[in-house]
């Protein structure tokens, strides 16, 4: 088991390194020179030279990579070429906002998906089960940002229940935070809830055809009792896998949602940086997003090793 945990961690580190190389290579293919972008087209060669030295872009690419990558484990991303500010404190600030959004949305999605998915599985040959399946199919087809716009039209503009955009940190004014976070979280969660409902449904259906469930019935448990006592725990494993994959999707979904609701998270930071061609910031935010995704994968792998006796023994 220790061996397995170590392998997982080693694989995580290797993936992070590979990802950082990929990010660096893709974003350094940029035709533009950061010094030129900062100073404008009319800058004199001498000025440009000085600026390149200041940015460190006059050094060999490999040196630049190691300079950037060696800071990553310590959360040091360097200084933005554009604002000349340290990137790390900004990232730290914004990542909290995005994580609050993502986690709340995932919790809401699971709270919706688990009961509805189970219901759809138990009633799979009844009309009510088919209705749940059809609604989830519709939910998948409506991207989060579209759901967000529709929510704004209805709940913010028509009914006036919630503000249509903006952000307040939970520590500043919790009530205000709740009213501002409600619509973006529902928008983010709706798609995920639809996707997860389908997975919960198929996981429960699979379990329902298992022999041990028939045995449980044979020893006298009611269908519901058999399912809750023996079935759901087994159905949980594939659902956990999908949840981790979807968590990564949510992080990217939040990028778009933040734009809809004007929320100052990582997504807004990334898009602003793309708009300004502030490449080092783009590079760093992308790396944070990818790092979070890989970290989630690692945590799930470790959880399996600890939770599932079959995996634990095989190592």
């Amino acid at each position: 088991m220790v061996m397995r945990i170590l392998t997982n961690i080693a694989r995580f580190v290797a993936s992070i390194i590979a990802a950082s190389i990929l990010v660096f290579v893709v974003l350094r293919l940029v035709p533009g020179d950061p010094a030129q972008i900062a100073l404008g087209v009319d800058a004199s060669p001498a000025l440009l030279e000085a600026k390149r030295a200041e940015f460190g872009t006059d050094r060999p690419v490999l040196v630049q990579y190691f300079d950037w990558a060696s800071g990553l484990p310590f959360g040091d991303f360097g200084t933005s070429y554009l604002s000349r500010q340290d990137i790390s404190p900004m990232v730290l600030d914004k990542v909290q906002v995005s994580l609050i959004l993502v986690l709340l949305a995932m919790i809401l999605a699971l709270v919706i998906a688990i009961p509805f998915g189970t219901f759809a599985a138990v009633r799979h040959n009844k009309v009510s089960g088919a209705v749940v399946s059809a609604v989830s199919q519709l939910g998948i087809a409506i991207p989060g940002f579209l759901a967000g716009l529709l929510l704004v039209i209805f709940f913010a503009l028509k009914l006036g229940w919630f503000p249509s955009n903006g952000w307040t940190a939970p520590g500043v004014d919790f009530g205000e935070f709740l009213s501002r976070v409600a619509l973006p979280v529902v928008a983010l969660a709706s798609v995920q809830a639809a996707i997860l409902t389908r997975y919960v449904r198929s996981a429960v259906l699979e379990v329902m055809s298992e022999d041990y469930l028939r045995t449980a019935r044979a020893k006298g448990l009611s269908p519901m009792k058999a399912l809750f006592k023996h079935g759901l725990r087994n159905a949980a494993i594939p659902v956990i896998t999908v949840t981790s994959v979807q968590l990564a999707a949510l992080i990217i979904g939040a990028v778009v949602i933040e734009r809809v609701f004007v929320i100052p998270g990582l997504g807004s930071m990334l898009l602003d940086a793309v708009g300004n061609r502030d490449m080092l910031t783009v590079q760093s935010v992308v790396m944070v997003l990818v790092g979070i995704t890989l970290a989630i994968n690692l945590i799930v792998d470790l959880l399996y090793t600890v939770v599932d006796p079959r995996i634990r023994k095989s190592a």
């Binding site: 199919q137 449904r201 734009r259």
Partner: protein
């Protein structure tokens, strides 16, 4: 289980498969029809502006009303179908042509080749299509071409994984082992034995990826990083309508509906095809 109940079950399965396939095909056909129609006829020139007629509701002369510049929304929706299909086709094409051979290679060669290919796919998996597209937009500037290519690259791992697991299954069958024992060249084995067996899975993956590509393009254009004005794209229409949302909410509804129809169409088509191609799945799995 008695024979009659099995027959009953089979009938039920095929009914379900047909509903998925049927609805999916109808919705996809609608999108294709819209795109084809846009080449032949649209009620108005989608880019022509009639300021006097801006922000109109639905009427006989403007089926879906007009936007902030007085452009006919219905004509723009028809034109937008072109971009949607183009992006989907190119992105799926790239992912299919790169991912499938990689997956087959990994499944046939095993060993180091497999390890390297699949690790590569794993790392690419941490870069969802949309993130890849945002990176490309940062480097090459926003546009339809960089969006298509990026979404395609982001979708490679899905095809590689499907193709590899399919190949692994086929490789253990006796007829493939016989073919290899009779020292047939690997390429011939791949073409004659592996491909026909995984083509179903690949088609299903294509349909599902198509839906994801449509979603990614819409999100990207909504962010202003995809299709650029004035070219009509559903995601860009949403972006433009965001600031007029209180005056004319229907400007959100129409392109939103178009996106939902396309995504649902390709998803349902994928579900229907999966039930048809994969005998192991019982039509219950969604």
């Amino acid at each position: 289980m008695t024979t009659s109940s099995i027959t009953e079950l089979r009938a039920k399965r095929s009914r379900r498969r047909n509903t998925n396939m049927l609805i999916g095909s109808v919705l996809v056909s609608l999108v294709v029809l819209a795109a084809v129609l846009s080449f032949i006829w649209t009620p108005y020139n989608p880019y022509e502006q009639f300021f006097a007629e801006k922000h109109q509701g639905s009427s006989l002369s403007h089926l879906m009303g007009t936007d902030r510049l007085g452009r006919d929304v219905f004509s723009n929706i028809l034109y937008g179908a072109r971009i949607t299909l183009l992006v989907g086709l190119v992105a799926v094409g790239i992912a299919l042509l790169v991912g499938t051979p990689l997956g087959i290679l990994a499944g046939m060669k095993r060993g180091a080749t497999e390890e390297v290919t699949m690790r590569f796919a794993d790392i690419l998996l941490a870069f969802p299509a949309l993130l890849m597209a945002i990176m490309f937009a940062a480097v090459y500037g926003p546009g339809t071409v960089s969006a298509m290519v990026a979404i395609g690259i982001g979708s490679i791992p899905g095809f590689a994984r499907i193709a590899r697991s399919g190949t692994l299954q086929v490789m253990s069958t006796e007829y493939v082992q016989a073919a290899r024992a009779s020292s047939q060249p690997a390429l011939r084995v791949a073409w004659r034995h592996v491909m026909p067996n995984i083509v179903g899975m690949v088609v299903v993956q294509s349909s599902v990826t198509f839906a994801l590509a449509v979603l990614a393009e819409a999100a990207l254009s909504f962010l202003g990083l995809g299709t650029q004005p004035p070219t009509a794209s559903w995601g860009r229409m949403l972006q433009e309508s965001q600031q007029y949302i209180s005056i004319n909410p229907m400007l959100v509804v129409w392109p939103g509906l178009a996106i939902a129809v396309a995504v649902m169409g390709f998803n349902l088509l994928g579900d229907g095809l999966r039930d048809r191609f994969d005998p192991k799945l019982n039509g219950e799995r969604s």
